[in-house]
Symmetry: C2
């Protein structure tokens, strides 16, 4: 690999001149510029970013940590962040923690390496304080999708409560009163908020919620199956289910199908997220769409703002949208 000095020598100038020329920090006469350009071309010179970063302290790169890159929701979010970052000339280093706290910690600590200018963080498990403490030391972080309590950095979320409210209301307006809710771990902000939206819709309609029909666990297909089985095993069955993630909904769907419970004939179902497969399952899933592209875009924008110190803590709430497909039917008495 040719270095800056090689280029300088070839062009008959000092490394300083080449460096400053390349960074537009010096005016050179045409002749000199040509010689440098020729040398660069001849040697196929590419600046060593590592050295550059070490020297300048700027990385023009960010890190993106996601719980599970194999999960379409996070993958789409990651793609959106990357697209926006590219527009600004930033590289994105993605990593997936696979729900491992140690890997989350690692990812944050790596901020120290100077490798990146900032971090967009997604998590899907409640924090026990570890992450919050670690993050408190940084000001170049943005939280996306899920909160970590006690951290004062910009955050980008969706209107979880509104989403769940709309989903629940749709069911109520279809005549349902016996509605169950399946959601993720209780420590998560999104879980709390969606539960609140559900509760509010039920309260407004004057219909009581039942504790045994509120099932909190994980945002996973596995838990969706488990929860559905529990609901089916109960003495009374709800006529509709709000699943707070499409992953959950799909798990529910599988169990219902196996058990011969028709959707939406015998049981209505609403999901959350509008993952790519939501319209592919049978029946096509009515669900609450999160504006994934927008979330990614704004998260990056916010991060850029804190990196450039033009802004600090802000919380952005993006609206969600109820997408009506085929998994909800009017409740028929009997």
């Amino acid at each position: 690999m040719a270095t800056l000095s090689d280029v300088a020598e070839e062009a008959g100038v000092s490394p300083t001149a080449v460096s400053r020329y390349l960074n537009n920090r010096i005016e050179l006469p045409q002749g000199t510029r040509d010689r440098i350009d020729a040398a660069i071309a001849k040697l196929d010179y590419r600046p060593n970013l590592l050295a550059k970063r070490l020297s300048t302290g700027k990385a023009e790169a960010i890190s993106l940590v996601t719980p599970e890159i194999g999960n379409p929701f996070f993958a789409e979010l990651a793609a959106a962040v990357e697209a926006e970052a590219e527009r600004h000339g930033y590289a994105v280093y993605m990593s997936s923690t696979r729900g491992d706290r140690a890997r989350e910690v690692d990812a944050i600590k790596r901020l120290h390496d100077q490798h990146v200018d900032g971090l967009i963080m997604m998590t899907n498990q409640p924090d026990d304080g570890t992450l919050a403490e670690l993050l408190a030391r940084h000001d170049n972080v943005v939280l996306l999708d899920e909160d970590i309590p006690g951290v004062s950095v910009p955050r980008v979320f969706v209107e979880n409560e509104e989403g769940a409210y709309a989903a629940t209301k749709l069911l109520i307006e279809a005549g349902h009163r016996d509605i169950a809710l399946i959601s993720g771990p209780s420590g998560l902000m999104s879980v709390r908020e969606r539960l609140a939206g559900f509760q509010r819709a039920m309260d407004e309609a004057g219909v009581a919620t039942r504790d045994e029909w509120i099932l909190l666990g994980q945002y996973s297909r596995e838990f969706g199956r488990e929860a559905a089985e529990r609901l089916l095993a109960g003495v009374e069955r709800p006529s509709a289910i709000v699943a707070c993630s499409d992953y959950l909904a799909v798990g529910v769907l599988q169990v219902l199908r196996q058990s011969g419970v028709a959707v939406p004939g015998d049981m209505s179902l609403v999901g959350f997220d509008d993952m790519p497969f939501a319209e592919l399952v049978d029946p096509a899933l009515t669900t609450v769409r999160q504006p994934v592209a927008e979330m990614g875009r704004i998260a990056f924008e916010r991060l850029l703002a804190v990196i450039n110190k033009t802004e600090t803590e802000t919380v952005t709430r993006l609206p969600v949208e109820l997408v009506v497909r085929k998994s909800v039917a009017r409740f028929e008495r009997g």
Copy 2:
């Protein structure tokens, strides 16, 4: 941020001593070790990876380029690579090119930056020679999933031909003779090989293929829909379709459903990949499973081997497996 020198000063030794101690290149008496450890703890020292890499030339990191991280197939592959890399203490920098040639080129060129020790490359568009030429200059690259002709680096593929052969044979054994094939861009190795497998199965059974029933385009849902529409519009219809990607199959499924063509009743369908949603669609998709986790694992293993110069060009072919679900039925005459 505390530096090595800060630690050295705090511990009352030279930076050299600290560096060598941390890298196990020196034996120090217990007392000195304790002082250094204490200094590190007190200052919360973390080595600056950038500096380390610049100095050593080793990055303990690889780069992973995927065409589209939002695509579950690539996302899962990425997750698998990352999992294996982590076991070996390597960081993974993922980037998605979104099918943009310029971004692919960029990703390769970035190998020069010393940022990473090597590159695992996935692509989903035929190369016009650009990539091949660029890659020829590197020996720390592994190709995954798809080939780039003219490049002599380790490659990890699946048995595409066998997969398509098995899928086609399944249909033939179910009594089908009018079988269409839908696949990706014709320049791609996987497309060629799957086509060959299809052809071989048809030849062996003594049934002729028809040009108008072999539709090559893109590995996308969009093209799946388009191809399905073309098949339905033809004067004669096949009774079964081999879709060379589950994305294609899903597109096909949508069009068939809209057109009132029952699957598998009126039309049998086999996919390829076994993406996560394959078992969720209706009917659950019979498809050819690619061993994604294994592919990722082996790709990393191979990359490590070339990085350490213990191996050069090898081509690995991983077996695929036909997963029979509900989208294929016996052909009923008439």
